[in-house]
């Protein structure tokens, strides 16, 4: 169980090379920027796409590309991963730098954060060392204004010698200005005289001596000064890349390589080894940024305003930090449950009335009974269940969660939870990936790329499915409502459900910690690596946009997936229920076969079968349970939860059965999408198997113990 590069497979941004489809002679423009400066918002604005945006660093882990039409041309925009630097210290930085160097981009737009301009200059200056067409796009002007930060962008533009445009990308009006700036940038001449960072004398002297040779090698295809600096560093990876890019022109220039070697030795003799040189370079860049911003940024004591300080003192405070996290979670659940009740009832009523009509219509058309069964009683009915029971809670939970994300709360969760993760020898950013798991475990697994250390990333990948995704909440909510809230009525029952659900989720979080700890004590041994987490300023969420987008995207996505998965599953179920083998339906046979194992785990064969059939999507597990029971006879018309409860009770359910189903819903194999994602992200069958077996084993244990315990006590 070695932990090697190959065991975790392809790293972030590996798909940056595939844009031939969009290319077709169009000009390529790269979108660079520090993490969390609103790069994705700018990208969406320019391409009319809907990349998911959120207020936390590292959100864009995959690079997107899209078409962007300006007045004069159509170009391909590539959103490269957010980085602080192009020194290639991490995989993302390497990808970003290689793309700017060798990706064939005509120009680079560097998106900067207006509230923290100085810090952003580092990347901007490094980009200007590589590209001769750079546009500085200072984003979040609205936020800066709120913080009373005033910026003299014309002055910055004069100092840098590149165009600087200030925008608030969240506002529609920014689009036109950006498009015009892009046209001007591409129409204009190359920026031959843009600002150059001056490095300390020994470095500059060495560069000056290498420059003529380097110019002969690159012949204008790469910046010669940039190449000289990398030669002095002895940056093998970049030099290999440059050599390939220049069709071997670099390795043919033996004289240049020899001279560079000599200069490196000379620098080392003066006490400047490779690390020392990097220190000099970085310091010069940071100080240049400081100088350039002097007089450009005014009235900013800190980007971190008094308001943010106050909020943070509460949300990350010693006494209130943890309780408030739990309370916020419970609050989100409360709103979800309270809001979902009515639409659920309405949908259920409407969809089942429609079912009767459909059946009548098919009968009138003379369809054979089996076809009616497959289509209406099978496919349509499961589809209706998914829509009625699952959709409303999901459509409410997701936007609420997105609002918290948009406001900037998630990094605070990571900050608060870093200590416990540190104790498990893991990374606090795992809290971010865990939070993403609430939305979708597959997304959570992809999000694990924000974790630098491979060992810690694997820990996060393997434990991600311990938090229930959006598709599992509704099942938990329904069961809590039916079996645990009891006779409490109205808002009290909603409150009780929300609290119980929170407890259940905390159990999932607790299991995450336990499993992480177990893994890092056994197969993934190691010490926690270092951890730098940026806490972005709070931003007022874009309420309307979040609501519209997440409801629409989510609704369409869920309905699409429901149709794709639930309908065939429903048809299959109907067939299984009606095809007989030796007098028994196949469904009854399968359920009977699984029954002993199901009973051992405090459930029954039908439930276990539903979990297995629900592998493509967790949304359909509970509907399938109901389908299996109804297909076995008894009831066919279910109007509300009370009737469902009666059905379940009739099948021998007790509160202990419901508890075991909830536990197993929380702890079982991830859905097929997530499993495929784990396979892709880890590049290893072994780790994929571990990601399936670990939660399954935990669920088996939890259910079996619960069942044994309740039987023992006779309750």
């Amino acid at each position: 169980m070695g932990l090697t590069k190959s065991s975790t497979g392809r790293r972030a941004g590996g798909e940056l090379t595939d844009f031939s489809r969009l290319r077709e002679g169009r000009q390529l423009v790269a979108l660079a920027g520090n993490p969390n400066v609103g790069k994705s918002t700018v990208f969406n604005r320019l391409t009319h796409m809907n990349q998911h945006t959120g207020n936390w660093p590292g959100k864009t882990v995959t690079s997107a590309q899209g078409l962007c039409r300006t007045e004069k041309r159509e170009l391909v925009l590539v959103d490269i991963p957010g980085t602080y630097s192009l020194m290639a210290h991490s995989a993302e930085e390497e990808v970003a730098r290689d793309f700017i160097c060798f990706g064939g981009a005509e120009a680079v737009v560097v998106v900067c954060d207006a509230t923290c301009l100085e810090r952003n200059m580092n990347l901007a200056l490094q980009t200007m060392e590589i590209s001769r067409r750079v546009l500085l796009c200072v984003n979040l002007l609205d936020e800066a204004e709120k913080k009373q930060i005033r910026l003299d962008l014309p002055l910055l533009s004069r100092r840098l010698g590149v165009p600087v445009i200030g925008v608030s990308a969240r506002q529609k009006s920014s689009r036109t200005a950006l498009l015009q700036a892009l046209d001007r940038l591409l129409d204009g001449p190359e920026q031959r005289d843009s600002y150059r960072v001056r490095y300390p004398a020994p470095v500059e002297e060495a560069v000056a001596r290498l420059l003529p040779l380097a110019e002969a090698a690159v012949r204008g295809r790469l910046d010669a000064r940039f190449l000289c600096l990398r030669l002095l560093e002895g940056d093998e990876k970049l030099l290999d890349g440059a050599d390939r890019y220049l069709d071997g022109a670099l390795s043919r220039q033996g004289e240049l390589l020899l001279a560079a070697e000599k200069e490196r030795l000379a620098l080392a003799a003066r006490g400047i080894d490779r690390d020392g040189l990097e220190d000099l370079l970085v310091s010069a860049l940071v100080m240049a940024g400081e100088e350039l911003c002097h007089g450009v940024v005014r009235l900013d004591r800190e980007g971190y305003s008094l308001r943010d300080r106050r909020i943070d003192r509460v949300l990350t405070g010693r006494r209130l930090g943890y309780p408030l996290m739990a309370l916020l979670l419970a609050g989100v659940f409360y709103l979800t449950i309270a809001g979902a009740n009515l639409p659920s009832d309405l949908l259920m009523g409407a969809l089942f009335r429609l079912q009767e009509r459909l059946a009548a219509l098919m009968a009138a058309l003379g369809a054979p009974p089996w076809l009616r069964g497959v289509l209406v009683d099978g496919a349509y009915r499961v589809l209706a269940w998914v829509t009625a029971v699952m959709l409303p809670p999901m459509a409410i939970f997701f936007p609420l969660f997105t609002l918290l994300e948009d406001a900037g709360y998630l990094p605070r969760v990571a900050y608060n939870l870093d200590r416990p993760f540190q104790r498990c020898a893991a990374c606090g950013k795992q809290a971010l990936t865990m939070a993403m798991g609430f939305g979708c475990n597959a997304a959570g697994v992809v999000g694990c790329r924000i974790i630098d250390s491979e060992r810690e990333r694997l820990l996060a990948v393997l434990t991600n499915s311990f938090v229930p995704c959006n598709g599992r909440f509704p099942t938990l909510i329904a069961l809590l409502g039916m079996f645990f809230v009891g006779s409490a009525s109205g808002s009290l029952s909603t409150l009780l459900s929300a609290l119980l659900l929170t407890l259940l989720i905390l159990l999932g979080v607790g299991t995450t910690f336990a499993a992480t700890r177990l893994l890092s004590a056994t197969v993934l041994k190691g010490v926690p690596s270092s951890f730098v987490l940026e806490l972005p300023p709070y931003r007022r969420p874009q309420l309307l946009r979040v609501l519209v987008r997440s409801v629409l995207d989510r609704t369409l996505f869920v309905l699409g997936r429901a149709a794709a998965v639930a309908a065939p599953a429903g048809a299959l179920l109907w067939l299984l229920a009606n095809l007989r083998l030796g007098g028994e339906s196949l469904l009854a046979l399968a359920a009977g076969f699984l029954d002993p194992l199901g009973r051992l785990m405090g459930m029954d064969g039908a439930i276990l079968l539903a979990f297995l059939l629900g592998f493509p999507a967790n949304e359909i597990v509970f509907p399938i349970i109901i389908m299996i029971y109804t297909a076995q006879g008894s009831l066919s018309q279910l109007g509300d939860l009370a009737q469902i409860k009666a059905l379940l009770l009739g099948q021998g359910w007790t509160w202990s059965t419901a508890l075991c189903v909830m536990l197993f819903s929380l702890l079982h194999w991830p859905c097929s999408t997530t499993v495929l994602t784990v396979r892709k992200e880890t590049g290893s069958l072994k780790w994929t198997a571990a990601a399936v077996l670990l939660p399954t084993a935990a669920g088996f244990l939890a259910c079996t113990l619960t069942a044994a315990f309740t039987q023992l006590l006779g309750i």
Partner: protein
């Protein structure tokens, strides 16, 4: 108050100037990339509820660091009256 110390000793509300970085490798680069170099002003903003990590204001951004890492950053604490 002018004696040298390390960043993890800085308490919320206190300011300091960075003297040198003792961290090496990737961590050193990451700290430099966010602008934490010699003579950079830092302020400790708070400590997370678990007691670690702590949050620092560096060049207009807020950065959380674990004590284990901030121990590698040598600082000169600034008395109140010297805070720019």
């Amino acid at each position: 108050m002018n004696s040298l110390s390390t960043l993890d000793c800085l308490r919320p509300g206190q300011f300091a100037l960075v003297q040198s970085l003792h961290s090496t490798g990737g961590m050193r680069r990451r700290l430099q990339d966010i602008g934490l170099i010699e003579n950079t002003l830092v302020e400790c903003l708070g400590v997370s509820p678990g007691g670690d990590p702590a949050a620092y204001a560096v060049r207009g951004a807020v950065i959380a660091l674990r004590a284990e890492d901030s121990r590698q950053v040598e600082i000169r604490p600034l008395p109140r009256r010297e805070v720019p």
